[in-house]
């Protein structure tokens, strides 16, 4: 099962915890906002969930990779 990380850009306030917890998939731009490389392999899913839970703005989501946005 593959997962995708998504940021709600209007909710994100650039705390940056996600990049600390999941540096394999998330880096910060020069303004402190996450650049997310969305695909999350099964091996990283637990770390990704931890990053999602840690987001103080509840802006990070983990979705099934099959669910395509409209």
């Amino acid at each position: 099962m593959r997962w995708r990380l998504r940021v709600d850009p209007t909710a994100c306030t650039g705390h940056g915890l996600c990049a600390d917890l999941l540096p394999e998939r998330i880096e910060l731009d020069e303004w402190g906002f996450p650049i997310v490389h969305g695909d999350v392999p099964a091996g990283l899913a637990a770390h990704a969930r931890r990053a999602v839970r840690a987001c103080p703005a509840l802006a990070l989501r983990l979705e099934s990779a099959r669910k395509e946005p409209a």
Partner: protein
């Protein structure tokens, strides 16, 4: 604002009067009776008995695409809204927040009933009982005239004319829905898109007013008629705004697929150094690069351009494209919804880079910095505002490459400090979002 439909232009074979037929009532909107004299009655069938699916099918067969900028197939959107459960609504988007565009203002000022026809038909097709007409509240005269047109009509659907804040991103479809639901006129993250969940959480059709006007014609004359002009992949006519270094600036109705050089000839373009295609989310080009290309999505795609809302802005010879772009980028940076970090911080940073470049006083390696910033900003906002601004900035670096090198090296062109009437317009805007 001027509207062009002179006989000479028509004889050259590039203009076709459809939306603009009734525009001889120069300076004022066609009243309902004048409108019906020109176009005939709406094919309503017997009251309540017209098959809603037939309009959707006709619009789909006509191949009409959205005229607000995105160019999405209108039939597909109609079908999506009609097929969903819940109380549907229709939004007629007449905000026209693109500063270089005047076509929707011209259309509403001459043929409001054509727009309202299309909106009423679309409402019937998707099962909506209300049409929300969204207008810019700084355009008092337009609001009055459209309200007057609404008062003349007796439709089954109800028309509500709304006055929204004047901001660049307020015309974005999710911003309209958010405002209509009692919120601020700022875009929201998608999904859900308005067709899924819009006004009062019901499926909502948001269409540009020109798109609706075409629906009003397709319903009367059919998809085959609609396709008699234009191209198979871009049928019908479209309104364009020609501005800048042209002797006849204003709004023209052209056959879709008309070459850009022919549109410039209609507007009697002067000595043009560069061309902004599509508006402030558009791209700069050498006129020789695009003159032979049709003004369609497919025709412009090879050079990375798009028709957008049908804007052609000609930069006069001797003007500085970097300075003009810097002014527009500063405007776009201020006009963001201040919701998404990459846009809130990224666009002012890019605008500042361009200001340094325009002045020929770069701080550090401005081109390397721009290259990095333009690479990371797109695709990370709730709406396409950052993407559009970045597209404009990137195209300026390419189209004005020689000037960019000179400016970056501390040698700005002499035109960098000049102002002229043919500069790109920078509107003032109100600070409010409600």
């Amino acid at each position: 604002m001027s509207v062009h439909q002179d006989a000479e232009a028509g004889a050259r074979g590039h203009t076709t009067r459809r939306l603009t037929v009734g525009w001889q009532h120069a300076g004022r909107p066609a009243r309902l009776r004048e409108h019906l004299d020109v176009y005939g009655p709406l094919p309503s069938g017997r009251r309540g008995h017209a098959d809603p699916r037939s309009l959707v099918d006709a619009v789909a067969a006509a191949g009409l695409t959205g005229r607000g900028g995105a160019g999405f197939p209108t039939g597909t959107k109609l079908r999506a809204v009609a097929g969903r459960r819940g109380r549907a609504a229709v939004v007629a988007n007449g905000m026209e927040s693109e500063p270089a565009s005047e076509k929707d203002q011209a259309l509403l000022a001459r043929a409001p009933h054509l727009v309202l026809d299309g909106a009423a038909l679309a409402a019937r097709a998707v099962g909506a009982d209300t049409v929300h007409v969204c207008l810019d509240r700084t355009r008092r005269h337009q609001v009055d005239e459209v309200s007057r047109a609404v008062d003349e009509r007796r439709d089954e659907v109800r028309f509500l004319v709304h006055e929204l804040p004047h901001r660049y991103v307020s015309s974005e479809e999710t911003a309209l829905v958010r405002w209509l639901n009692g919120g601020e006129a700022r875009p929201t993250a998608t999904p859900p898109r308005p067709y899924e969940r819009g006004v009062e959480r019901g499926p909502t059709l948001v269409d540009n007013v020109e798109t609706l006007a075409h629906i009003g014609l397709i319903a009367r004359y059919g998809p085959r008629w609609f396709r008699e002009v234009g191209r198979p992949d871009a049928p019908g006519t479209m309104l364009v705004t020609a501005a800048g270094a042209v002797r006849q600036p204003g709004v023209y109705e052209i056959e879709a697929g008309t070459r850009i050089g022919d549109v410039l000839a209609l507007a009697d373009a002067a000595d043009v150094d560069a061309l902004l295609v599509g508006g402030y989310f558009g791209t700069w080009h050498d006129p020789r690069e695009v003159a032979g290309l049709p003004m369609t999505a497919a025709g412009l795609q090879p050079v990375g351009a798009a028709p957008g809302a049908g804007v052609l802005f000609a930069l006069a010879a001797g003007r500085c494209g970097i300075t003009e772009t810097a002014r527009v980028l500063a405007y776009l940076a201020r006009q963001g919804a201040q919701q998404c970090g990459p846009c809130m911080f990224g666009l002012p940073a890019v605008a500042d880079d361009f200001a340094q470049l325009a002045a020929g006083r770069p701080d550090g390696d401005v081109l390397r910095r721009l290259d990095r910033r333009l690479g990371v900003i797109p695709g990370r906002g709730a709406c396409r505002h950052p993407d559009g601004a970045v597209r404009l900035a990137a195209s300026a670096l390419t189209a004005f490459a020689a000037d960019v090198r000179a400016h970056a090296g501390g040698r700005p062109c002499p035109a960098a400090y000049r102002r002229s009437l043919a500069d790109l317009p920078i509107p003032r805007s109100e600070g409010e979002w409600r």
